[in-house]
């Protein structure tokens, strides 16, 4: 099996659901990647970026503030408080998403290092799209 199911939900609805090749999460004890057939794991998530490599090879980035992830062999479930996906058809849409994401992260974290880290990641993600 080379893909796993991934679901991300927030109190405002579901923001991602589908088969993915891999995903990277901002765990409380450091960033970690998850591949299909990963052992069961429950982890606290901190403010940061979830990077998802979709079945077609494209990478999606989603900025989150805090939450939980439960990984098991074939399914990964993420519940987060707030999330902003870095997507957009046009450059202005993208710019708006980035701005929202930065606001979210500033509200959620008080570590300058974490904020800078997320901002850098978001901008790289945005650049690779255009």
């Amino acid at each position: 099996m080379d893909t796993m199911k991934l679901e991300i939900v927030t109190p405002h609805g579901q923001i991602f659901s589908g088969d993915v090749k891999s995903a990277t999460f901002p765990g409380a004890e450091g960033e970690f990647g998850v591949l299909p057939e990963h052992a069961s794991l429950v982890s606290l998530l901190e403010a940061g970026v979830i990077e998802i490599e979709k079945a077609d090879g494209n990478v999606d980035s989603i900025v989150i503030d805090s939450g939980y992830v439960k990984v098991d062999e074939n399914k990964t479930l993420v519940v987060v408080e707030g999330a902003v996906p870095i997507v957009g058809e046009t450059e202005s849409d993208m710019a708006r998403a980035i701005k929202e994401a930065k606001e979210l992260i500033k509200k959620a974290s008080n570590s300058d290092f974490a904020i800078a880290n997320v901002e850098a990641k978001v901008e790289t993600a945005a650049k690779t799209r255009f």
Binding site: E7, V9, T10, P11, H12, G13, Q14, G27, A28, E29, F32, A39, S40, L41, V42, S43, L44, Y68, K70, D72, E73, L77, V79
Partner: protein
């Protein structure tokens, strides 16, 4: 003639009532839209949180891995005291909405009494409080106003009390009862077991690995997750209940408005009949008077 006047008065009073019921229907319709939207957005989150927590609880129960010492996930806890949280509306005039929940509550109270289990009632909503007070049933806690305007913080405070008592061993089970929104026409009675986490909903499956926790103080992680779960379940219950209340009221008021129209029609017929009758009587009187003079 007195009869005519009486009927006229009655028609006016029914029309007045109809105005009220129609207005109430419109108000509920508007409020329902908002409440439904709010409930709909939170539904997925509540469901997934439920799934997440019950799966963890299932895995802990099946393989007895870390966290099994937590009271929150012990499925086979002996039950001596039950905390029952009941949500009803603050206002009536919404058909059987409140009564259904109260009937379920009474039924469960009876069942627990037969099993010699003590029950603590924690009530949200004026209707249930009034009902239970009238029937002389004791309540541990009551709150008014929360079901009309659900607020996460208040809901969390309310449920935290239950969680603390549960964690401290004062209670052995926490149950949430309310009437939920199914669609515009029907409400659904929901009875949820919040604590210990209900694992009967999880599909049994083979576990290949035990769970790892990160950060490793799993107790803390589990406790915050479980608290979040209970708080959100409570909050979602309130939202769901509010949407259901408005849909029930809308329907009840729609029926009332229709009944009022019917009643007005009946009364108008009666009024016309009475008027015709009085005219006929008058005519007969005049004619027979004229006849007598001949």
């Amino acid at each position: 003639m007195a009869n005519l006047k009486e009927i006229k008065l009655q028609i006016n009073s029914v029309k007045g009532t109809q105005k009220t019921t129609r207005a109430m229907k419109l108000v509920s319709q508007a409020k329902l839209k908002r409440a439904e939207e709010l409930a709909k957005r939170s539904r997925i989150y509540a469901q997934k949180l439920d799934e997440l927590v019950s799966e963890i609880a299932y895995e802990i129960n099946t393989s007895k891995v870390g966290g099994a010492e937590s009271r929150f996930v012990q499925a086979d806890l002996p039950v001596r005291t039950v905390d029952m949280i009941v949500i009803t509306a603050d206002k009536g005039l919404c058909g059987g909405f409140n009564i259904t929940t109260l009937k379920t509550t009474l039924r469960m109270l009876k069942e627990y009494k037969e099993k010699r289990v003590a029950v603590r009632l924690r009530i949200v909503g004026r209707k249930a409080i009034d009902f239970l007070k009238y029937n002389g049933i004791e309540m541990t806690d009551e709150i008014i106003g929360l079901s009309a305007s659900p607020d996460y913080k208040q809901a969390a405070e309310f449920i935290d009390q239950s969680l603390m008592d549960f964690a401290g061993g004062k209670t052995d089970r926490v149950i949430l009862i309310y009437n939920g929104f199914k669609n515009m026409l029907t409400q659904e009675q929901r009875v949820l077991q919040l604590m210990p986490v209900d694992i009967s909903t999880v599909e049994p499956r083979e576990l290949k690995s035990t769970i790892e926790y990160e950060p490793e103080e799993q107790e803390e992680l589990l406790n915050t997750l479980l608290r979040k779960y209970a708080e959100y379940s409570m909050y979602y219950g309130l939202l769901d209940s509010l949407a259901a209340e408005h849909s029930a009221r809308m329907q009840a008021m729609d029926n009332a408005t229709n009944n009022a129209s019917e009643r007005v029609n009946e009364l108008t017929v009666a009024y016309n009949k009475a008027r015709q009758e009085s005219i006929t009587t008058e005519l007969i009187e005049i004619i027979s008077g004229v006849e007598a003079l001949k």
